[in-house]
Symmetry: C4
Subunit: 376 residues, 4 copies
Amino acid sequence: MSREGQPAFSAPVNVEDVERIAAARLPRAALDYYRSGAGEEYTLRNNREAFRRLRIRPRVLRDVSIRDLSTVALGKRVAVPFGIAPTAMHCMAHPDGEVASARAAEKIGAVFILSTLSTRSLEEVAEAAPKATKWFQLYIYKNRNITEDLVRRAERLGYKALVLTVDAPLFGIRWADARNKFHLPPHLKLANFTGPAEADGVRERTTKGSQLQAYVTDLFDQTLTWDALTWLKSITKLPIILKGILTKEDVEEAINHNVAGVMVSNHGARQVDGFPATIEALPEIVKAVCGRCEVFMDGGVTQGTDVFKALALGAKMVFIGRPVLWGLAYDGEEGAKTVLEIIRHEFDFTLALTGCSSIAGIEKEMVVPASFYSLL
Amino acid sequence: MSREGQPAFSAPVNVEDVERIAAARLPRAALDYYRSGAGEEYTLRNNREAFRRLRIRPRVLRDVSIRDLSTVALGKRVAVPFGIAPTAMHCMAHPDGEVASARAAEKIGAVFILSTLSTRSLEEVAEAAPKATKWFQLYIYKNRNITEDLVRRAERLGYKALVLTVDAPLFGIRWADARNKFHLPPHLKLANFTGPAEADGVRERTTKGSQLQAYVTDLFDQTLTWDALTWLKSITKLPIILKGILTKEDVEEAINHNVAGVMVSNHGARQVDGFPATIEALPEIVKAVCGRCEVFMDGGVTQGTDVFKALALGAKMVFIGRPVLWGLAYDGEEGAKTVLEIIRHEFDFTLALTGCSSIAGIEKEMVVPASFYSLL
Amino acid sequence: MSREGQPAFSAPVNVEDVERIAAARLPRAALDYYRSGAGEEYTLRNNREAFRRLRIRPRVLRDVSIRDLSTVALGKRVAVPFGIAPTAMHCMAHPDGEVASARAAEKIGAVFILSTLSTRSLEEVAEAAPKATKWFQLYIYKNRNITEDLVRRAERLGYKALVLTVDAPLFGIRWADARNKFHLPPHLKLANFTGPAEADGVRERTTKGSQLQAYVTDLFDQTLTWDALTWLKSITKLPIILKGILTKEDVEEAINHNVAGVMVSNHGARQVDGFPATIEALPEIVKAVCGRCEVFMDGGVTQGTDVFKALALGAKMVFIGRPVLWGLAYDGEEGAKTVLEIIRHEFDFTLALTGCSSIAGIEKEMVVPASFYSLL
Amino acid sequence: MSREGQPAFSAPVNVEDVERIAAARLPRAALDYYRSGAGEEYTLRNNREAFRRLRIRPRVLRDVSIRDLSTVALGKRVAVPFGIAPTAMHCMAHPDGEVASARAAEKIGAVFILSTLSTRSLEEVAEAAPKATKWFQLYIYKNRNITEDLVRRAERLGYKALVLTVDAPLFGIRWADARNKFHLPPHLKLANFTGPAEADGVRERTTKGSQLQAYVTDLFDQTLTWDALTWLKSITKLPIILKGILTKEDVEEAINHNVAGVMVSNHGARQVDGFPATIEALPEIVKAVCGRCEVFMDGGVTQGTDVFKALALGAKMVFIGRPVLWGLAYDGEEGAKTVLEIIRHEFDFTLALTGCSSIAGIEKEMVVPASFYSLL
């Protein structure tokens, strides 16, 4: 259906509405690429459902007339405790791609994390959203020069942190992509690369499975160990956040390598079906970190109450992936902003109705597992 | 469909039947307003389902030929241990509105709680149901004169208690209302107010969301703290019940302020999706109160066994909200009475079949979580 | 549909098949009467589903070439460890009624319990199935002469035990019956009574609800206490089994009154929705009895594995209610026998495949809750 | 539908796809025979679902560029830690039957276990797949000469182990087979037998139920005890694996009889509905074995993550039953190989994405029950 001929959707009142509209508009392959998770998508569903198994215990009769939604992450105050997670290839959702989503983040005052696999370059995004707090997500390529080039550009362009993805030596098996033989549409490109090696990376090379997976397999460094972190720290002063930490054991390693933060993530449930929901894993990580670095999380956040729950369980900030893509598909920059506004509005009301006038007012005891009640 | 042309429903045998009939008759916006809960309505469903996860352990061979269903609440004997919860704007369900529901309560001998946001005034209700035990639900307005005026009228008209709602500095986000741009139908009014400020309150002021929410946001006092309770106690001798308590922490505050009772309530699951079901939260509150004041509850009560379960877990009395509205929509005062009669009949049989001849006979051990059995 | 015109059902391979056939043949009111449980029928479903939550732990490499299915109950050896539970008015299912079901029991060697509210008399059943082990289920009427007359006839006719129902001072609220205004079809009668008082009992006396419920309310003694048991023991030497025990507290009372046995029963989930499934309650009762009397159970047994599970958890014998009625509706005596044969066959295979060659070989450790595994 | 006229299925991307294609192609009776489990098939579903209740805890930043999927079982290195479970009568799925599946196993380097009840003989399979690691599954016949003959042939033909099935003195009650009066199609034969006694075994002998069940009942030795194992060990030097162990109690017996291994199996959920899922039972067995013999398992394995989970819980190797049959039905040897390749590919990615470069890298802590998280 052409965008001209699209039906008159009524204004979305929640993120699910935006998703429905996006699902009706996006080409099948793009929708599937964004939407799908690994295997049977148990973890994909669980990322959302695990939030539902938590209960919020509200306090009453507290002055909530003025509410401060801001927080401090990596030493910098930001307007809201949620940001945009790094997801690949926003231009499949809207021609403006990452430029639109970064601008939406800028308007809300949310942190924007640009993906290495973006369809708008580091430079375009930096220029479009100069006042946004921007972080850059990094993959480490077999050819370390490629990585170092990305780091140098991020530094120069004012990106404030590097988010090193550590859970993707390969890309997981996503059945929908395999069926669609998913590949980046020919008119789009991975905008951060210009050299021939990288251009090759997205060309059709196999007849089976997703071409992006082949790209990753060919170009990413699967020999990566914790030494890579030592190397990365040796070439940059930017704070480093490890994205994809799910166990307390890896927290110890991360702390030993002096990271600025860890992001509890299962890569949008796209790597291995059976990984825990991120909100399930968060308490283990928070407990293990024990204040020694900052803890972020992404995965399954679609409502303001999800943000509240993650913060009560110890996250400093949460990141939102797919919903922003649905927003882009719905209405470009405006659509992405709508998504962030909906979540901000819901989070604001959750604060008010739990007796919190600021993030600092969120108490640990305010979020408990459902079993808290059945065991009484 | 006009009421004349309505299909011949057979007589309802349970509250669900009444709800079905009401759902077929009510205009969409009114039905949605009454029926909806916050967010995805997980808590709305859980309010009912949590009752189902409890088991009743009956005793046998006890004389149950004569059963006394009465109880004593706030020092006054009432015929049944359940009453009508305060819900807004009964005239949307039936032209007689709160007058009809108060009369139904009077005939059954059930406590009636009138909402501040009623479509029949304190005076009309007092005149219509002089013998009913009536309590008045109170919101505290930014303009304390409004509140004080309500209190004075309640005292003068013989309302026996004030039920102070403490969980609504704002009204929660209810998606159905947002879609419907819900507002009070033009031919109805909030009957307790005559001044221009209040009339303004229900006028369309925004193009987004529910107008009632705007009313609340504009007029209710969001700076409210426990001091408000001190103030309220200073202007009235009526016993005060705090409605909307869900945590043991707030019980301590309530007891320190010498309240007559607390009502475990999540505002009909209309504030934040993710709050516990009230029957889940009840044991925590009962334990914390430890006999120092009376404990009431509302939320999800649709059957006589629900009343029994709440009482066994320590509630003095339970309150019924939506089912009474379904009764009004079904058949006005008669319909509301039918609902109360159904629940009374079911509760009476539950007493008989558990070996109880009175409320006092309900033992703590008679209601257990399902896990009581799976852990044997 | 006339029985002549019925579709050619293929031979049933399990009890569910028989139920399906019966449901297609029985008049709606009779089907509903047999099938329904109290309230929302949560307990009705749970009676079956609770069996599913148990796991069977089989032993291997034991000689199971010859299997002895017999057991000893009340000092008498019976061919199978299951019998026919007392259910009312078998003639609604098939003209031969209790005569047919008793004969089926006789052929299998199963205990048959005749209901007081039968449509074939104590005498007819005794004559039709002289070799069956027959027990008689007793209600205590306000008029004790009625009860004493029943006891005398049971003694004289060779019934071997009295099964005193203690969970029915009233009959529970079954919505389907209330909708159908259920009453015994005019051509049938409660066959154990001939006096005018009893004939009155089944006449239409109310316009609301089930007439059988009115019968019970009018004629049964709701003042009954444990003294009634003392009285009953004073007039008969027959062993007495208390049917309807669900708590350890009542076990103590029962033991103090020297009963021969207790039957864990929730009256087919027909009294109060929310009572535990009988297989849930069984371990509590077995533990409390601690060998001091025999423990029986009914409720939700539809497969041979259910029998096995109940026996492993400590039941001496289990009783089957509705499935026998489905069998009667399917094919009279043959149909009832088919049901018993199916369950015997399934139970026999369960024995063989768990390494048991007799009831005595069933070990406690062979049945565990599902949580046994998730907690490993 | 003829194979010529079959619809153009797209290439399967997972085992479920293969199952769907097979289900569309197989004759109903064969499909039902392969697919069905005992009773209500609760255990059949649970065999799969219990895997879903486990969570995988991945480690990051480990060199996974080279992954070794091989393991050592019974002292022999095999290329992958999964094999083909013994299932009966492969020729119903494809004319090449066990020859095709053995060849698929050979190509992948997976262990192949031939069933006694195969439609291709020990000899045909040995000749067709000379390089495959082949084990032979054994039933013990009443006539021990039959068994001894099978053992001698297995030894002579290079089968490396005997897998003695100990959970099938009878075949379980499978309702679909009973409805279908399942029997081996007339053009097929149990290929390991040539004598008249065996030929008789598959002839129609009853009009009720599955003929294969009658075969088993007539010919298998139901008096079998642990002494049979002593006998078997006395006639062969081949290592013996006991298949069908589900309890720690039986582990002790097995160890006392010096078996080389035990296989946790519920016979594909075909014996008694209510047996634990095999992945549920595995930890109990592993703990009891405590390294004293090798532990294998089958049941519900359809994905690479299932293999990973079983290995983390202590299985040396897992075996795949029905999926191989679906592969045969889909495309003979190629189809069976496709199934094994899919699982190998998924398992390989699971290794990479959990930080394991070999089987030895799989740590116990990497797989936990879901409750691990809800209890945090």
